[in-house]
Amino acid sequence: MFNIIAAESEVNILRLPLDELIIGTLAFGIVFFALAKFAFPAISKTLEARADAIEGGLARAENSQAEAAAMLEEYRAQLADARGEAANIRAEAQSEKIVMIENARGEAAAAAASVTERAQAQIEAERSQAMASLRRDVSELALTLASKVVGESLTDDARARASVDRFIADLEVEAAK
């Protein structure tokens, strides 16, 4: 209890010594000067530079991503082009093939037709030849037969030959009927 009485009489906790006020102000002043003039502007600049670097990096990444996307798009377009071209080529080849087949078929058909025609012509020729030779042979045979029957040679007689021919023609008409 001694102490408290002593305290009240000797010390005043609310006193404000001028030297301590000045020391306090100076001490704070040094801190403020160092921080405001050097430290905080430097830290602030570093932070800004870092933010810039990060943002720049992000922008760069975004750019390259866009570039890559554009390239991919280009490649896709090229691929589609190539595919289309291939399809075209294939279609062209197909149509060419059809044309060629068609041509070949036509040619073959023409060749076949010409062969048939020639064969027919030959057959016709041979037939008419055979017919002529047959007609001659038959008329000779008939004349021989008739002369034998009649007893006179009709061989060189033009009239006899004509009558035989008429007869054969009549036969042919009969046969045709």
Binding site: M1, F2, G24, F32, A34, A39, T46
Partner: protein
């Protein structure tokens, strides 16, 4: 049984023990008035060179050196020191300046940061072994800081709002019935001019004063009661335990009070910048 002597007795040591027959030296306001080491006379003025002023100079050097060293590397990928400095800076900028004042609070970051770290490290001196004296428990220091804060927000208020508008805006807050101004206007003026600076200084001072007193009491008790008896051991151990817990609590209060002091400064500056509409 020996006669119990009070600790005020000159025959008792500064930190007596129970066995010495001296009473418990309950700490009082005297522990805040330390013997000066020397007195320096500059321009006819006596400067007391004592624990408080040396610690204040030390705090000043520690805070300034820390931030200068942390700001120096300026690397994109910061080291530990640079990172710590940046976090300290960002804490003041984002949690105090921008949070309270707004976007135009950025130009007050150096002032607010200096206040916060100067006050915080000054307070921390209360528990740092060897120092163990919170500078802000000496009223002159909070007052010196508060005077600067007061000058700052008064100047800013009168500059941005005009010398008359600044006071009238504070005295006649909008949205109050006209008749209330009879009561409100003088109170608001008193608040702006007197209450704010006084409470800001005393809040910091009283918190540090009380904390130091409490810590000293239990520290002394732990020593005073130590003796080979059940009560002695129990009392000493309990006191020591309380000292440890209180030290942790005190560190929390030290940070909190530094934060509150700075936050209030930001609030006052913000009020000076933007009048209530």
């Amino acid at each position: 049984m020996s006669v119990v002597k009070f600790s005020g007795d000159t025959s008792c040591p500064v930190t007596p023990h129970l066995n010495s027959g001296c009473g418990f030296p309950a700490p009082n306001a005297e522990i805040f008035f330390l013997e000066p080491y020397a007195t320096l006379n500059i321009f006819g003025m006596d400067f007391v060179i004592g624990k408080t002023s040396i610690l204040a100079a030390l705090v000043s050097i520690i805070v300034a050196t820390f931030f200068l060293a942390a700001a120096r590397p300026r690397k994109m990928i910061p080291g530990k020191l640079q990172s710590l400095g940046e976090q300290a800076y960002l804490f003041v900028r984002d949690q105090i300046a921008r949070e309270v004042i707004g976007k135009d609070g950025d130009r007050f970051v150096p002032f607010l940061g200096s206040l916060f770290f100067f006050v915080w490290i000054s307070n921390l001196m209360g528990v740092i072994p060897g120092a163990q004296f919170p500078i802000m428990s000496s009223l002159a220091f909070p007052v010196a800081l508060t005077l600067m804060v007061y000058g700052t927000y008064m100047y800013i208020g009168m500059k941005t709002q005009g010398p008359i508008k600044f006071f009238t805006a504070a005295m006649f807050p909008p949205g109050v019935p006209k008749a209330m101004y009879v009561l409100l206007a003088p109170l608001e003026l008193l608040q702006l001019v007197v209450t704010r600076p006084v409470t800001q200084a005393i809040r910091l001072f009283a918190n540090m004063f009380a904390g130091h007193l409490l810590l000293t009491t239990f520290t002394l008790a732990a020593y005073y009661l130590i003796s080979p008896s059940v009560i002695g051991v129990l009392g000493s151990v309990t006191s020591f335990g309380v000292t440890v817990v209180l030290t942790g609590f005190e560190m929390f209060i030290q940070g909190l009070q530094a934060f509150i002091f700075t936050l209030l400064t930001a609030v006052y500056i913000g009020g000076s910048l933007h009048a209530e509409h």
